[in-house]
Symmetry: C2
Subunit: 402 residues, 2 copies
């Protein structure tokens, strides 16, 4: 394994503390207010507005076939590549709510459009919270009015706070170019799995970019960030990642530079999502090397990331590497079971499919855990981030709607 | 949904109490002894011997590509359809133990053969316990000697007890024909998932059967029993189900009757495995009806059975049906999201993909939970049994090897 890096190729670890404030790129205003959708009385409605001059947009959505009404709506909104505003609510997912749910999303977009003087067809709607409940529309629409009044160049943090559900902290990230910047906000703490996590993300930039470049850059960025975190293997009905470009900086940015910037911001946010996953006590990087293809590496990494027994063992600080091999063995990836190597936090506990170094040498006390699996089948690699399975995960998710 | 049964087509519920004693069919002897493989000092080595006149055998094994040494060995043993003895140990899985592990399995079979006066090539070996540790062979072989001495027509219960790992009770079942019978023993309480659970099962019958019929009957029986329980989505490296037929009753039994009998015994044992799954507080039947094919029904049932958020909700007695729909939406099965129906314990909480009856009407206090999903896409159906995800599951599996 000596020819492979022993640290995962992802951003440095973060702990779920309040991040440094991130400011909106030029051309944007935002707000976060308390509409009253959440019983907790915490902020629950956010608005992000692109004042231009450009109104380029791209988005990716959940691949769950049971998708929430706002996802169905917003897919249509972004088809023409123009978005003027994004309205986001926590306190209710508006999923599995039938025709009435879709009418409610439509009415929300119409109301935002009316208040801002834009077209409803350019308003993305995102919702998050409990599935299977209709939203209290009077409360929500009054919240839109309040948010529109509160819109400000300084509103990025407030908007990021208002989209939290079970998140313990709000998540923001940024990237600064020469005279231009990218900012991002995210929410998500459970139902985190590819493709995409249960999460809402708004990325804004004032760079002058080609509309097609923005779309390609966003897809490339999400493929190696949000698509590679898997907290609990549960795919959401509401996942939305939307990117908006105002062009207000006046600085043209090429496709490659834009992709690098968006990838940095998305990877930072993805790492924050794992760091704040419901009940987690460990953040675990599953790095697969020596794979015949990236797809093989991802299949193996995800199989391990989704293995409840392995995740329980990590919670118990137990380097039970047999559970890693048992998970690898369920995949179709190319490998020979008698040549598999596994290292946990630098200790090669499994060598050539059998017993390696003494498992008692592994220290799993730190929050961050690194599992390195060498398939010895090729030169491809991939890393998937996950969490351990804990009492607190069970506790939080056995009492979510009741 | 009214055209479908509202109770799952599986045996009545059992609770994890000690089952009534099951006797061996004629032609068999068995024993269970304490070899000293387990620190707990409880029985850990079992022997089942077929004295004939027939020595027909069939077996199915884990499909995990990382398979334990005893699985590799036993696959070869059963190829010719003859088995004279099965030796089973708890206290160590002998998986991921390399060439030495295979030599140890071979040596075990040779020793059993020598003691019993049979061929090592007719001795099936099964092991269960922690992965990645070599077995203490002197202790194990001395246990074989002790078991051979203890062999008895009354040894079925003792053998069933000796194969337990984290099982709280031993599992046995039987079926009685006219002058012939089938008996079964099983162990397994975690790492339970298709194909097959983490389990060892020995089924014995004194019926006079065709060897090919025994093989077909066992495969048919496991496909609708052990392959349809999924406690924790974790596939084992050691799963083995072996069926032995002695012909000692002198009663010929046709293929259909044999299949029915084996299916009854396997379904009974499978239900007992779910009833004793590690830390479980609920046994959950996921019944999918109206599917375009049995494969579709199984894919949907398994997706729900493996959804941690749903399983946590059931633990919390929370009828969070949105999590059922979110899981269904991840499958490739034929369905229209706007026609999905879901009932929980008889309350139709989701109708036509939207809100149905009040979720507060669902009573999840009983241990047994029934989730009925109608895909409205055809006439096929299937039921998968699973468990909830509990604090005790996390506790037990975070402290297994340490």
């Amino acid at each position: 394994m000596s020819d492979h890096a022993t640290t995962p190729p992802t951003p440095p670890p973060t702990t779920p503390t309040t991040p440094a404030a991130v400011r909106l790129p030029s051309g944007f205003r935002a707000a976060g207010v308390t509409a009253g959708l959440k019983a907790s009385g915490t902020p629950d409605l956010a608005l992000v507005v692109n004042d231009g001059p450009d109104h380029h947009a791209a988005a990716v959505f959940t691949t769950n076939r049971v998708e929430a009404a706002p996802v169905t709506w917003s897919r249509q909104v972004v088809v023409d590549g123009r978005v003027d505003a994004v309205v986001l609510n926590s306190g209710g997912a508006n999923a599995c709510t039938g025709a009435q749910g879709f009418l409610d999303t439509h009415r929300t977009a119409e109301h935002v459009a009316e208040v801002l003087g834009v077209s409803a067809g350019d308003v993305v709607v995102c919702s998050t919270g409990l599935i299977g409940e209709l939203l209290p529309m009077d409360t929500l629409l009054a919240g839109v009015d309040a948010a529109a009044t509160a819109l400000s160049r300084d509103g990025h943090e407030a908007a990021a706070v208002a989209i939290k559900t079970t998140d313990t902290v709000h998540k923001v990230a940024d990237h600064h170019g020469d005279g231009w910047s990218v900012a991002g906000m995210a929410k998500g703490a459970g139902m985190l799995a590819p493709a995409l996590a249960t999460m809402l993300v708004v990325v804004t930039t004032d760079a002058v970019v080609d509309r097609a470049d923005l779309d390609a850059a966003l897809r490339a960025a999400t493929a190696v960030s949000f698509d590679r975190i898997d907290s609990d293997a549960c795919m959401s009905t509401n996942d939305t990642v939307v990117a908006l470009a105002s062009g207000a900086s006046g600085v043209p940015v090429d496709a490659g530079t834009l992709t690098t910037a968006l990838t940095a911001v998305c990877a930072d946010l993805a790492r924050q999502l794992i760091g704040d996953a419901e009940g987690a006590a460990h953040d675990i990087a599953i790095e697969v090397v020596g794979a015949a293809s990236v797809d093989d590496a991802l299949e193996v990494a995800r199989a391990v990331a989704r293995n409840n027994l392995f995740k329980c063992a990590v919670f118990g600080n137990d380097p039970n590497w047999g559970r890693v091999l048992a998970a690898v063995g369920t995949t179709r990836a190319a490998f020979d079971p008698t040549t598999l190597d596994v290292a946990m936090n630098g200790v090669q506990v499994c060598r050539a499919g059998g017993v390696g170094e003494d498992r008692s040498l592994v220290d799993l006390a730190p929050r961050e855990v690194h599992v390195l699996i060498d398939l010895h089948a090729g030169g491809a690699s991939a890393t998937v981030w996950t969490n351990d399975l804990t009492h607190d995960y069970v506790h939080e998710n056995s009492a979510y709607s009741t």
